[in-house]
Amino acid sequence: MQQPNASIACGDASGPHINVTSPLPGITGLLEERLDTAEHIRDATHALLRGPSSMTEGERELVATLVSSRNECRFCTNAHAYTAARYDGGMSLVQDVVRDHTAAPVSERMHALLHIAALVQSDARSVDDAAITRARDAGATDLDIHDTVLTAAMFCFYNRYVDGLGSSYPSDESYFETLADRLTTTGYMRKGLDGTH
């Protein structure tokens, strides 16, 4: 994992790389910029993170947070840390996972799934039979493995979309509590953002 290099210009140092019409920060603004793609991004995300799964919502949010922190995406890491903190284990567990997911107080099944997520983030071809076997031996289902890989892959998408365009960071971190309220109740759909469906 690359360490942050202070001499590399970061998008958020000088503002977004393109004109983003919406005043909303990070991904929330970008998803207002191009609604034809945003619709399908939201549908896929909502199904994956809030739809029926053999993983709990909290487990899926931990995967999102871990991957975003490994990709060093400040916006996404905070958005999902604050959201994950609303589930069992709270912010203390989130911090343990981000600091060292191999030592966090989670089940062996989650250890194995977080390991797979970390491999997907760095080089998905390195998800080997041993990593899969470890997960299955700990009770992971095909759906657990699928959802872990796709969630990790999806956050590699989100982190690059947000940072690649240098999208803005909220001026006040209480924004993330408001966002967590929304993500843990209505989820990832657009409904209600401006009063429309």
């Binding site: 998008g11 997907v120 071809r125 493995i145």
Partner: protein, 210 residues
């Protein structure tokens, strides 16, 4: 009408993760098992979309809008970005299928696709596309490393906001699709010819065939 695919050394693209043993069939389809129980008759990412249609359907619709919807970038340019990014991520299935789709769009100029994707030779691309591929490569490695200078260089060659947005979005999306395919070890045909009709279908009919 697209001609026969160039005789690419597909094996060179397959690292030692993939067993090179062939089954008894004359028609080699795949040489390994996926990590989860997908339908073995469906190659690549489509088997994953079918495994979990709740996510598969919106992801195919996203791919369709990205690569066939409105954009200042041509469909060929967008497939070229997809193939270029996939090659950078060493995802064989996505590289081969999107290069095939790109060749179909470029028609008589299809050699351009191989020059750019497989030989790292951008010289025949427009200056605007060259500058956008610099951005794509940086986004592929990590969005934080895209600089104001990279963006200015693209604008200097005529790129508008939407060119830059779509380049970043396509690149980011393929960083997802590549990881989805390889993280689950989706079935990857090792026969280069298999990708020719696949690419034609992708180019002509797109992705949201539900």
């Amino acid at each position: 009408m697209v001609g026969a695919a160039p005789k690419l050394d597909v094996c060179a693209l397959l690292d030692d993760r993939f067993s090179l043993r062939h089954d008894d069939n004359t028609h080699t389809t795949a040489t390994h098992m996926a990590h989860i129980a997908v339908d073995p008759s469906i190659p690549g990412i489509r088997s994953l979309f079918t495994f979990r249609p709740e996510t598969g359907v919106p992801l195919t619709r996203l791919a369709h809008v990205l690569l066939h919807g409105e954009s200042p970038l041509t469909k060929g340019e967008r497939e070229l970005i997809a193939a270029f990014v996939s090659h950078g991520n060493k995802c064989t299935f996505c590289t081969m299928s999107h290069a095939a789709a790109a060749r179909h769009h470029y028609g008589d100029d299809k050699d351009l696709v191989d020059e750019v994707v497989f030989k790292g030779d951008n010289s025949r691309l427009s200056p605007k596309m060259q500058a956008l591929l610099v951005i794509a490569e940086k986004v592929r490695r990590g969005g934080r490393i895209v600089t104001d200078e990279d963006v200015a260089a693209a604008r200097a060659e005529g790129a508008v906001d939407r060119d830059i947005h779509d380049t970043v979005l396509i690149t980011a999306a393929f960083c997802m699709f590549n990881r989805y395919v390889d993280g689950l070890k989706a079935l990857t045909p090792s026969d280069a010819e298999t990708y020719v009709p696949m690419g034609a279908l992708m180019a002509e009919r797109g992705y949201a065939r539900d």
